[in-house]
Symmetry: C2
Subunit: 388 residues, 2 copies
């Protein structure tokens, strides 16, 4: 059952729920849509699963591209149903979809939970019965295929190379009056982020955003960082680019140029221990629970005297979950938190323990792993050291 394709899952749920078809209408950029069809479009389009076949309904200008790229059995054009440009006109779109579905022997339609209520109303007006089904697409997405794993490895390899490059820039920079200089230029969060972005761009990865936070700025996990980078303080880097395949990389390291305070060194060592402990739990492989990974991390931190979110809202210590699944979205379910269930073979997750303190800044170490039958494979090889 783990090996079931998303189409198999759809066909099974249609049978179980006594439905004739599954219809999904979404933005062309939607990741569930891309997963289900292999096709990414500029405009919304419709997916129909009917009698074990997948049929797309796309705008006329996208028909050729859809035929080339998509995994669907058939691609049809809205030009068969209407003339002219119907973008922004949801009423016209609804009529087209009703006409399209009406060409098949369909009475009872299953749709995803986030199907637009308006479309459902219009289809019901046309005599169809419409109701939501379980989220089989996201369920299928949790177990990555071999080709998805290859894309994620590529994305994370480029991310790791850019982290090496960032480390190199910090290493090669000089310290003048308590500020880092790279060449003749003051090294700021903005400049280092731009170096990382340019580096990734040459490796088919787009970086919209990245955290490059220095000193106490790094104590807030949501602060992207800005301004001058300084020695003897943490420089927290969290790099998460999107590879041209659509899959994401995501990796964090924390560096210090010089010597940080003893309290920071302790935070770093404890985070490293938590990382080792989390990976040790994951080495049991498929069947281990996400909660047990998170609990282990919390145990390490709490034994060392740091509070964790397991105790509720805290303002220092571990402020976030231990990780999240990743794929066509940067953050996918499941997350490594309290209550998280069993991890299966093929789940790809970040593991990212961290400690934060308003007086000393933050530490985060983050790798990406895939769960295997009897362990895990770490997509990262980058050492866990703060010294550059």
């Amino acid at each position: 059952m783990g090996e079931m394709s998303v189409e198999d899952r759809l066909d099974r749920i249609l049978t179980t729920e006594e439905l004739n078809a599954f219809v999904q209408y979404k933005e062309g950029s939607d990741t569930n849509h891309k997963y289900l069809t292999g096709f990414q479009a500029s405009d919304p389009f419709t997916y129909l699963r009917y009698e074990n076949r997948s049929i797309l309904l796309v705008a006329p200008v996208e028909k050729a591209k859809a035929e080339n790229q998509s995994t669907a059995d058939e691609v049809r054009s809205t030009a068969e149903f209407v003339s002219g440009d119907v973008r922004d006109d949801i009423e016209a779109e609804a009529s087209i979809i009703a006409d399209f579905v009406g060409e098949y022997e369909i009475e009872r339609i299953g749709v995803p939970r986030d199907f637009d209520l308006y479309l459902a109303e219009r289809l019901e007006d046309e005599g169809f019965s419409v109701r939501t089904v379980d989220d089989v697409v996201m369920e299928a997405r949790k177990r990555k295929s071999e080709s998805e794993l290859a894309h994620l490895r590529d994305a994370q390899r480029a991310t790791e190379r850019s982290m090496e490059r960032a480390q190199e820039i910090i290493r090669e920079s000089s310290v003048v009056d308590g500020e880092l200089f790279y060449g003749d230029e003051r090294l700021t969060s903005e400049r280092l982020r731009n170096h990382i972005r340019e580096f990734l761009m040459d490796r088919q990865c787009a970086l919209d955003e990245a955290i490059v936070a220095c000193g106490t700025r790094s104590a807030d996990p949501h602060d992207r960082g800005s301004g001058i980078l300084r020695p003897d303080e943490p420089i927290l880097l969290d790099i998460f680019p999107q590879h041209e395949s659509g899959y994401w990389g995501d990796m964090s390291r924390t560096f210090v140029k010089g010597t940080p305070p003893e309290e920071f060194q302790e935070m770093y060592e404890t985070t490293r221990e938590a990382m080792d402990a989390a990976l040790n739990v994951l080495s049991e492989g498929a069947g281990v629970t996400g909660q047990s990974v998170h609990d282990t991390v919390c145990d390490v931190f709490e034994s060392a005297g740091y509070p964790t979110i397991r105790d509720g809202d805290v303002d220092r210590g571990l402020l976030h979950s231990t990780g999240h699944a990743i794929g066509l979205d940067l953050h996918e379910p499941p997350r490594l938190v309290q209550g998280a269930g069993e991890l299966e073979e093929g789940y790809v997750l970040t593991v990212e323990p961290g400690l934060y303190d308003d007086d000393y800044g933050g530490v985060r170490i983050e790798d990406m792993i895939v769960v295997t039958e009897d362990g895990y494979e770490n997509f990262n090889q980058f050492a866990y050291d703060y010294q550059v």
Copy 2:
């Protein structure tokens, strides 16, 4: 009626449609949500309009921020209804929303057209009647308020300054063996885009993407451009950053370092004429139709012998609409196309005629304007010249 607030519009439609309340549940980043509440969140939240009051239901960690930022009359927390973290758990979210709405005297609920069908089903299960209403939020968004106009002016001013900076870099660059050099570095699309991005970052604008396309690459309006910039060829720049207010800038110019072929010069002059003609139509002010602006542009191009999309699918000439509304989204309705209706006072639109040819590249000139009672105000002052 043009001056009606979005809340007035909601109250009116609730009365007309005999509904007790309007409920909107969306991602925290959704722009309709932000418009309606003044609040942008990390997680999905719920907006309720009931008895002429606006009430928000947000995650506990976002309550204080919502109280500070939002325009709502009251902010409530999901902690009143459930304990623990319910992100990723749509079933729990649905129960919370049903409990929340159930605290008021509500039977008949109006929701936006893209309301999740699953939530509607769950609310119906709890005895509420749920149906979609006209999109009054997007309708209200078309007419920008004074404070929105101020944000859009700020965004477009920063965009124009970054365009000046880009022009300056091209002007100051030297030509070596048919390639542009800025200082010691080859000037590529990527580098120029990074210069623009850094410049905008210092002016509270984030630039995810921008078109910097040289030569025949500029003939494809969707090509962002890459690689070496060359003299005597068009360099098409389309810069669209998001200002920290949430509002977008959007501006295009086409430059040539040196002397372009005569055919390009003709394309440029014709595009400039089309721009002048479009602005001339807009000088009639509110009441003019979007179609008449587009038709005028098409007329200029067609008289000069260039095909336009008014003739259907074309592969050279004018390949896109003449412009689009802009605000919290980069592209908002209405667009300046065939069939577009009357423009009202306060509509903010891009005006962007362009010509494309696989042999000579592309030209696009794009300004942002606001429609006024008896004309328009152009947010741009940048000259229409290709010479740098």
